[in-house]
């Protein structure tokens, strides 16, 4: 057999043994649906493209490190430095940053983007997240990245890079010094770090030394803030510890915890109205009295309790529907009325009785 036919035969035989892994097919299918999604919103994308190009030119220095995964690239809308200064959320955050760290005023905004702006409906709805990156001029400049909650404008995540001299990165400092640095960052950009219990531990990371710092509320297992220290970078995330200390299973049915009422009763306004902690409320309820009776013992009327809970729930509802747009009082009242019977059932409920 001539060598040519040998090779030909060999290749065809070997080809038979090569089967395309399932994972590849899945991945390509995903890419295709991603493409379709993008295709549908193309018209609006065009308008944004011009802004995107301008932003891309400004962002050339960051383009190298910012190699985001495909999906993020598609839903993240780049913004120019001008746009971010005009944006109410961005503006507020920048002011806060400039106020806390005056030196950042001279920094250049090298990257800015919004996540989850609905391109089909630009006028309505806000971004889920707005991100800004600021950099000091110079080869080893300080760098800050802020991720903001697009609805509330809260800072959700801060990344602080190169704030220590090159020869002496943050991680090389003592634990005490690191804690001070992180505390400072939290105090300046998030709020007080004092009321939280703090713990520091190293993470298993064979490549690089990494420390994790948890700031948790007393008795809470979820941290409120979490900071990671690695190399010359500190990053702090607001986790929120699950909005205020909450308790699960206020009532019991047949001796088992009953979660039915939790969504209504875990209400900060209610706790402050009753002047009780969630745990205390649960204790009281366990005695077999209803929320209304507890309120009555504190000289609070049923109507007051009902009002507080109903308005919290109504507001939540509206926020979910309108992306946090300001709502008119009328809708709020209407919703409260619809909710009232449900709320009333909850606050009159006694443990170990049927609903």
């Amino acid at each position: 057999m001539p060598i040519e036919s040998q090779i030909r035969e060999h290749l065809h035989q070997e080809a038979e043994t090569l089967e395309c892994p399932q994972a590849v097919s899945k991945r390509i299918e995903q890419s295709y649906s991603q493409y379709l999604k993008q295709q549908r919103s193309k018209n609006i994308m065009k308008k944004r493209l011009i802004g995107g190009i301008v932003a891309a030119v400004i962002m050339i220095p960051t383009a190298a490190f910012a190699a985001p995964p495909l999906i993020e690239m598609m839903t993240r809308t780049p913004m120019t430095a001008e746009q971010i200064r005009m944006d109410s959320v961005g503006q507020a955050a920048l002011e806060k940053l400039y106020h806390s760290y005056p030196e950042t005023k001279s920094f250049v905004i090298t990257d800015a983007s919004q996540l989850g702006v609905d391109p089909t409906n630009v006028s309505m709805g806000k971004a889920i997240q707005t991100s800004i990156v600021l950099e000091e001029k110079g080869a080893y400049g300080k760098k800050v990245r802020l991720d903001l909650n697009g609805i509330t404008g809260e800072i959700e995540h801060v990344n602080q890079e190169n704030w220590e001299p090159l020869g002496k990165p943050v991680i090389s400092l003592t634990d005490e010094e690191i804690k001070l640095k992180v505390d400072e960052l939290i105090n300046k950009l998030f709020g007080s770090s004092e009321k939280y219990e703090y713990s520091m531990e190293p993470i298993q990371n064979p490549d690089q030394k990494t420390l994790i710092l948890n700031y948790a509320e007393k008795g809470s297992t979820t941290p409120y803030y979490q900071a990671l220290v690695q190399g010359n970078t500190i990053s702090v995330s607001l986790i929120g510890g699950g909005s205020a200390p909450s308790v699960e299973g206020y009532f019991t049915t047949n001796g088992k915890p009953d979660y039915t009422a939790d969504a209504f009763l875990n209400d900060e306004n209610l706790f402050s109205l009753l002047q009780m902690s969630p745990a205390e409320l649960k204790q009281e309820l366990a005695k077999g009295i209803s929320v209304v009776e507890i309120a009555a013992s504190k000289k609070i009327s049923k109507q007051q309790v009902l009002d507080v809970i109903a308005s919290t729930q109504a507001k939540k509802q509206i926020q979910a529907d309108l992306h946090g747009k300001a709502s008119d009082d009328e809708t709020l009242e209407q919703l409260k009325q619809i909710l009232a019977p449900k709320v009333s059932q909850v606050i009159e409920h006694k443990t170990e009785t049927s609903w």
Binding site: I3, E14, A23, V24, S31
Partner: protein, 191 residues
């Protein structure tokens, strides 16, 4: 692969027809995966390139030449993506890392394959010894049965270059495939 119907499927797919996408994918993925596998050794790289190729499909339709068969366009796509990937990977790794990657790749190839029935391991090994450029030409020539002229068009290089790569490749293959084919090489040097 019927060129004309494939072209229509392509158009439908780009307009957003999921069904067309599946038809097209089922008709092509085996061929593409095998071609890529011949040209690229590392499984993870193969996966990445596969994905890139299909992503290119819905963007590079304008390059489609109706006078040429569908698979010609498709293989052009494959070749370009593989080449792009090589350029990228050289840039990405510094030399030091590259050495590590190389040694890992060889390790991978040293492992005995499970399904080697009927496959001459000697030829497999000889194929591995080819340079990337030679291998591309050899695969296109013998696996896809393209003429050297067609290969020149696909790779966008002069025919002379294709010929020299082809001959260098064949020589290297002969050398590494051992004696049993040497005696016949004189007689059957035609392609």
């Amino acid at each position: 692969m019927q060129s004309e119907s494939m072209y229509h499927e392509l158009i439908k797919m780009i307009e957003g027809d999921q069904q067309a996408f599946h038809t097209l994918y089922d008709a092509t993925y085996r061929d593409i995966y095998r071609t890529v596998s011949f040209l690229v050794d590392h499984p993870q790289d193969r996966e990445d390139i596969m994905n890139e190729i299909y992503m290119q499909m819905w963007t590079s339709l304008p390059n489609y030449d109706l006078d040429r068969p569908f698979h010609f366009w498709l293989h052009g796509l494959v070749i370009r993506q593989v080449q792009r990937f090589r350029v990228k990977s050289w840039r990405r790794f510094r030399i030091f890392d590259r050495i590590r990657v190389f040694s890992r790749e060889e390790l991978y190839w040293d492992q005995p394959k499970e399904t080697t029935d009927g496959i001459d391991p000697e030829i497999s090994k000889a194929m591995q010894k080819l340079t990337d450029k030679q291998r591309t030409v050899i695969i296109l020539r013998f696996y896809h049965d393209y003429t050297l002229e067609e290969i020149a068009t696909l790779l966008d290089i002069p025919v002379g270059t294709v010929k020299s790569r082809y001959h260098a490749g064949m020589q290297s293959l002969r050398k590494h495939m051992g004696n049993h084919s040497l005696e016949r090489m004189e007689k059957n040097n035609a392609y």
